[in-house]
């Protein structure tokens, strides 16, 4: 019985043996690879990198600047041919402004691009702390590439996408990588080549990286690497569109004074409420506000800018009436005039229809007003109905809240 157990143990151990050997080999190669890059201790002290150099795309060489952080954030300002491109990634999701795609504003990146940005965010080698990052590595074997013997490692990221890395058996530095890449946001396989390794302080980085995918060729020639630079973290955040940014004076937490028009033609105080206005997306400013006018009204007001018509739009949902209302307008000299004269929900024009207008006026950085008017002659004349005065909450009132 004992003997059988022993046999079973040895059989089981034998079954596991190749895996153990392979794992050890991969570990050993990676350890030497990290050592070749300056050593784990040196890299441990690196919190962020600022990389400057020349980037070539479509045979045009231009300056670029990139930032990378230990937590996987990445930002780059580069030229792709003649087009100025910006990229940002916070470690999980990212954005790009790429005029090649005829989109001049920041857009969210897709899943293929996310994988590429994860690669771009690496401190050159993905094998640094690869287990912590959730990467899995498998040793494939040795291969001759362009006359030199290479260790071939398969690296699989958390998202399941894998890369094949070729490390020179003499130097343990990377020579080539085959990885999924993107071209115009579409997945394509790519080959990368690394050369011109230089010492920066005590770490070793490749100053020449050539990437080939499809018939494209991209060359990164690094000129300087700064360790642990000061980084403005807002760099990684998705930039708002230029036009919606002009409404930033409305962003914040507000005390709102309500005044409704009385019978005598003067505004009457109807108490106070609160409003919270924040950017929810690159082209979306959202307001949540509640007030009572007989019954409670909870409003969700969405501001956007339509590049096609070059006008601002409001889509407001009132849970009391349970309807969406649309308004459109322009911003001039910090006064946003929105109305629904151009919006119709009926096929036939109505002689009795009532149009509404909202005028947002910036007073200063801590105050703006909204005046509501109505018109029964399709906007020829307007009658005031209500006025809301927004005053920015102070730190004290915010903390109380």
């Amino acid at each position: 019985m004992k003997r059988k157990k022993l046999q079973a143990f040895f059989l089981f151990a034998l079954f596991l043996m190749p895996g153990i050997l392979v794992a050890q080999t991969a570990e050993e190669i990676i350890a030497k690879h990290i050592e070749a890059h300056g050593g784990a201790d040196k890299w441990e002290k690196v919190e962020a990198l600022k990389i400057k150099g020349r980037f070539t795309a479509f045979s045009l060489e231009k300056d670029f600047t990139s930032y990378k952080t230990k937590c996987g954030a990445y930002y780059s300002d580069l030229y792709l041919g003649e087009q100025h491109v910006f990229e940002g990634f916070n470690g999980k999701c990212g954005w790009t402004i790429d005029p090649w795609q005829e989109i001049e504003y920041a857009r969210n990146i897709n899943s293929n691009e996310t994988n590429v940005f994860k690669q771009k965010a690496e401190f050159f080698t993905p094998f640094l702390n690869y287990k912590k990052k959730g990467h899995k590595v498998e040793y494939i074997g040795k291969e001759n590439v362009d006359g030199d013997e290479m260790f071939v490692l398969k690296l699989t990221r958390e998202d399941g996408k894998s890369e094949k890395w070729y490390l020179n058996t003499k130097t343990y530095l990377e020579y080539k990588c085959e990885a999924p890449w993107v071209d115009f946001a579409q997945a394509v396989p790519a080959e990368m080549y690394f050369d011109d390794f230089r010492k920066v302080d005590e770490i070793i980085v490749p100053f020449f990286i050539e990437r080939i995918f499809w018939q494209r060729d991209r060359i990164t020639q690094i000129e300087s690497v700064e360790l642990n630079p000061k980084i403005d973290k807002s760099l990684f955040a998705m930039p708002k569109r230029k036009e919606i940014s002009k409404l930033a004076f409305m962003e914040g937490d507000w005390d709102v004074k309500l005044e409704f028009m009385g019978r005598r033609g003067t505004y009457r105080d109807r108490g106070n409420t609160e409003s919270c206005i924040k950017f929810a997306s690159t082209n979306l400013l959202q307001e949540q506000i509640s007030y009572e006018n007989g019954f409670p009204n909870n409003l969700s007001i969405n501001f956007t800018y339509d590049a096609g018509t070059k006008k601002y739009r409001i889509a407001a949902f009132n849970d009391f009436t349970s309807t969406f209302d649309m308004f459109q307008g322009e911003l001039k000299d910090n006064i946003l005039v929105m109305e629904d004269t151009q919006v119709s929900y009926s096929d036939k024009p109505s002689a009795t229809r009532m149009c509404r207008q909202f005028i947002y006026t910036k007073v200063d950085n801590n105050q703006f007003t909204v005046e509501n008017k109505i018109s029964t002659d399709e906007g020829k004349t307007w009658k005031p109905q209500a006025r809301l005065t927004y005053t920015r909450k102070s730190e004290n009132t915010l903390s109380k809240k």
Binding site: T56, F58, S59, L60, E61, G81, E82, D146, G147, Y193, D195, F208, E210, I212, W214, Q215, D217, I219
Partner: protein, 408 residues
């Protein structure tokens, strides 16, 4: 006195005969009168260049030039090429133009079409063919023109889109015409079996038409296969071999799609064809008017730059890596990176490689190893046009300027 005169005349005649004989021998190599030069091979033989490190190339001149990627053709003391000149941000003109070979100064320019605009680079891609008296060019919008070499006067013009229903390819009409006997032959991409056509050199009248398919970026090769004169076209996924009269010798359904690089005829009956998509390249062998694929591989994927064949090896840009492969086995002999999507020609036993950013590199045409003999930053900016070589000088062009360097 009479005896002296007679002796002088005999000597002069002998000298003249010797001189004529020598220049006749060298003539084919001394001009670069069509796309890829003599035989469209991108090669010139019987010339030995000194190493750049022993004798640095000497700049003869550098001139601004209208936008374009058309190669510089050199004949009879002039450079002929196609250029475009912008009027404003959306309009401009395309020209066939002549420049003095010695100075780079404009001799004449004649408008052939509207300017072709593109985000990757404006201007014409096609290279003119130089005849005895005239120059033949294909504009970006598909107008084949004949112009007098002397003064640029337009002798005739054929509009492919109007006459033959051709459609403009993404990068504009880019095929470079070839002169064969009394005809100019070029890819047309027209309807009703007008993929390729021959036109009378003198009149521009249609001589023959053949083949199916839209206009691509391939230029016809004129050469000999099994000692028979023929024209090779590779468009879409088909390779055509035609007689100079337009009769089909054979066709081959090719796995190579829309090659832009020139097919290379070598060893008397073999053809190397490469494109950037898989499989990369194939080699065809032609026997008894039947083409058979004898090898294929992924080690050479030419994009818009054509490869060079020399002594059993192909040298070319595998996308953006300068590479040497065995044409027999496809085995990669060496690779050199860093020149982007450059171009190359062969002068004797040397390769003259132009990087996509205008660096001119002299490399030994040997499979043994990448051996650089020297380099100079010859021209700046986007340089996608292959060099031309004539009379000991190399002529380079980037998107907006051209330069001449003396090499011997």
């Amino acid at each position: 006195m009479k005896k002296t005169n007679l002796l002088f005349t005999i000597c002069a005649l002998l000298f003249s005969t010797l001189l004529n004989h020598a220049s006749a021998q060298e003539a084919p190599n001394q001009e670069w009168n069509q796309f890829r030069g003599a035989n469209r091979s991108g090669s010139t033989d019987n010339i030995e260049l000194m190493s750049f490190t022993d004798k640095a190339p000497k700049l003869v001149w550098k001139k601004k030039l209208g936008d374009g990627f058309s190669e510089l053709t050199i004949s009879g003391g002039n450079i002929y090429t196609m250029i475009s000149v912008r009027k404003d941000s959306i309009t401009g003109d395309e020209f066939i133009a002549a420049f003095d070979e010695k100075t780079g100064n404009e001799v004449w320019k004649t408008r052939v079409d509207n300017m072709f605009f593109d985000t990757f680079g404006d201007g014409p891609r096609s290279t003119p063919a130089i005849g005895e008296k005239n120059v033949y060019s294909l504009s970006s919008y598909g107008k084949l023109s004949a112009n007098s070499k002397k003064d640029g006067k337009t002798l005739w013009q054929v509009d492919f889109m109007k006459e033959y229903g051709s459609k403009i390819p993404r990068w504009g009409f880019s095929s470079s015409p070839v002169i064969v006997g009394n005809n100019v032959i070029v890819e047309v991409g027209g309807t009703d079996s007008r993929a390729f056509m021959a036109f009378d050199k003198k009149t521009g009248k249609e001589v023959w038409k053949k083949g199916e398919g839209i206009a691509t970026y391939n230029s016809p090769v004129h050469g000999k296969i099994n000692d028979k004169e023929c024209i090779i076209f590779a468009n879409g996924r088909k390779v055509y071999s035609l007689t100079t009269a337009g009769d089909t010798l054979w066709t081959y359904n090719s796995p190579i799609s829309n090659p832009t690089g020139m097919p290379i005829v070598f060893d008397g009956n073999k053809i190397f064809i490469s494109a950037v998509r898989n499989p990369g390249f194939i080699v065809l062998e032609v026997n008894n008017n039947k083409a058979t694929e004898i090898s294929r591989g992924t080690s050479m994927k030419n994009d818009y730059s054509s490869s060079i064949y020399h002594d059993g090896y192909v040298y070319g840009f595998h996308v953006a890596a300068l590479q040497c492969i065995s044409v027999k086995t496809g085995e990669k002999k060496w690779t050199k990176r860093g020149y982007g999507k450059g171009s190359l020609i062969r002068i004797g036993d040397q390769l003259l490689v132009l990087s996509d950013k205008g660096k001119l590199i002299q490399v030994k045409a040997t499979p043994d190893a990448y051996t650089e003999l020297g380099n100079i930053q010859a021209i700046d900016g986007k340089s996608w046009t292959a060099p031309s070589f004539a009379n000991g000088k190399i002529y380079l062009r980037n998107l907006t300027e051209m330069a001449c360097y003396e090499l011997k």
